[in-house]
Symmetry: C2
Subunit: 327 residues, 2 copies
DNA sequence: TTGAAAGCGTTACCAG
DNA sequence: CTGGTAACGCTTTCAA
């Protein structure tokens, strides 16, 4: 691969001049510029970004740590934020932890060693000790959860999500509700519950059955049993769309009219909602707003304002589809 | 951030010695080593990977260009291959083209400028001219499609996928089949059709209705009309799982017993299959094999054997679920 | 077993 | 407007 020296030699100028041409600096004669550009063309010269990053000790890279790539929300998040970062001349380095502490440490070290300029966290951190200390020195933003007071964050208010679901079910005149919750250890689950019951507690005449199911290891049969146990359920709030999808299959085999005799609301508005039968109504996080805030906080931090972490909390919204009736 | 000099100074040795310690070279006294390691500890020193890459003119990075992150198959692909590459000391730099030629060029240039060591292509390329020339000089492997004779590739034989679907439907005694195909411009679609008809043409008594639908802009209503037009359809082969999911919703509203009165087979075995009602049977690509071959070809190429591109063609398999009956 | 110095490709500074 | 040179952090070679 040709380098700046080669170009300089061919164009009969100094490397300094070549550098000036490449970076579009002033103080270079138009004619000289043309000669240099030609030389660049004929040599197929590409500036070595590695050398440049090395010199500036800044890679123009932003690390993004995430649990995995399966999540629809974070997929859309990545797509949108990547476009915004490209515009600012940055690109994304993505690491998936898979819930594996070693992978987490591996990627954090990789990010650090590659001098990423900023860090976006889309997952919980289990790293401790010196590595964590180094990470916390970076400008960073946590997305979807508040990690600590010191780390800026952008998240959606799960409490409002729970409230919203409760309100919709009540509006739709449900009287006996199945609340399919996730593991209580998750902070998001706790918030969701809190919001849900905040509203429900105002309606003592409405009965709520709460049940805790694993988000991934669910099958239709888990629900078959529940519906046999409580046959007069007329509303369901599921803590994930996948959970809701399983419920729908069970309801179908029991010949219940979903959207009429029984209302179902999922959570997170993933692509699952577009494949179920009937199409699943769900609670959605404000994607665009979250991305825009993340970008803003990120570059606010990079301005050196590392002393003032901010926590942005946004509202969820309801996306009606076929599993809820609405006027 | 501390650098090697700082460590050397603190440990009262030369940078050379520090370098030796870091890289676990021999010819360094055990005591000296301990002193250096301590210095590294106290200074929180992290070797600057950028400087190292710069020196070696190799980033230990592998570029991966992909259409987007929504695809379940490629998500799993990335997850698995990333683990294999990490083991070999490489990491992944991911670029999503979104079908945008500018984005494609942007990422290819980014990869080139960052001296990626190898390239994995999980999408078609529309880049031409000098950029393409530079890209083709890299060791690269195309996944999912044969790009050209000169580029090694790993893909699944869509012809076999089409054959497989036809065989299953016939085994299950379908007599009037709806073949919901995608746009003929796609190479994969052509292959699939070829395989499907290769088998079907041997059974003149079976009737096939072929219909071409857009993979993404489909709704249930597209199917409502088709089933009204051909009410005695008893088998469906859809060119994508999403297409099949839409068909299922339509069948449901028409009260057809799926899996009994009518058999449905999707394509690609995405997570969609786990959300439909009933659960969708589908044709799957051999993920593990594809990843393993990709890794192998990649490192075969990097050994300098750039002159002998190989094309690996693997077989698809059938994943039975609830939309097909089977003994 | 250790260290001094050259070199990787680029940019910034200072002289001309 | 142009060019020489130091500097960025690390590895390697060669000499001690």
């Amino acid at each position: 691969m040709a380098n700046m020296q080669d170009v300089a030699k061919l164009a009969n100028v100094s490397v300094t001049t070549v550098s000036r041409v490449i970076n579009n600096r002033k103080y270079v004669n138009e004619e000289t510029k043309q000669i240099v550009l030609e030389a660049i063309q004929t040599l197929d010269y590409v500036p070595n970004e590695l050398a440049r990053s090395f010199y500036y000790n800044s890679s123009k890279m932003i690390g993004l740590l995430i649990y995995d790539l399966k999540n629809d929300f974070y997929n859309q998040f990545i797509t949108r934020i990547e476009s915004q970062l490209i515009e600012k001349g940055y690109s994304l380095m993505i690491g998936t932890t898979q819930g594996n502490p070693e992978r987490e440490a591996y990627f954090l070290n990789l990010f650090l060693a590659n001098n990423i300029d900023e860090l976006i966290l889309c997952t919980n951190l289990c790293t401790q000790g010196p590595l964590l200390q180094k990470v916390l020195k970076l400008p960073l933003v946590s997305v979807g959860r508040v990690l600590s007071d010191e780390v800026s964050s952008v998240s959606a208010d799960n409490t409002s999500g729970g409230q919203l679901a409760a309100q919709i079910l009540i509006q739709n005149r449900c009287r006996e509700i199945l609340f399919v919750n996730g593991p209580k250890t998750l902070h998001s689950v706790q918030e969701k519950s809190a919001g849900f019951y905040q509203v429900m507690d105002q309606y003592p005449e409405i009965h709520v059955h709460e049940v805790i199911l694993d988000f991934v290891n669910v099958t239709q049969t888990s629900f078959d049993q529940l519906f046999r146990q409580w046959p007069s359920i007329d509303g369901i709030f599921a803590a994930s769309d996948f959970l809701a999808a399983c419920a729908l299959r069970s309801l179908h085999s029991l010949d219940k009219k979903v959207g009429e005799a029984i209302q179902v609301i999922g959570y997170e508005n993933t692509n699952v909602c577009l494949c179920t039968n009937p199409l699943l109504s769900s609670i959605a996080r404000p994607l665009e707003e979250m991305v825009d805030w993340t970008t803003q906080l990120l570059f606010q931090e990079v301005q050196g304002d590392k002393t003032a972490p901010r926590h942005v909390l946004l509202k969820n919204s309801f996306v009606p589809r076929e599993t809820t009736q609405w006027k």
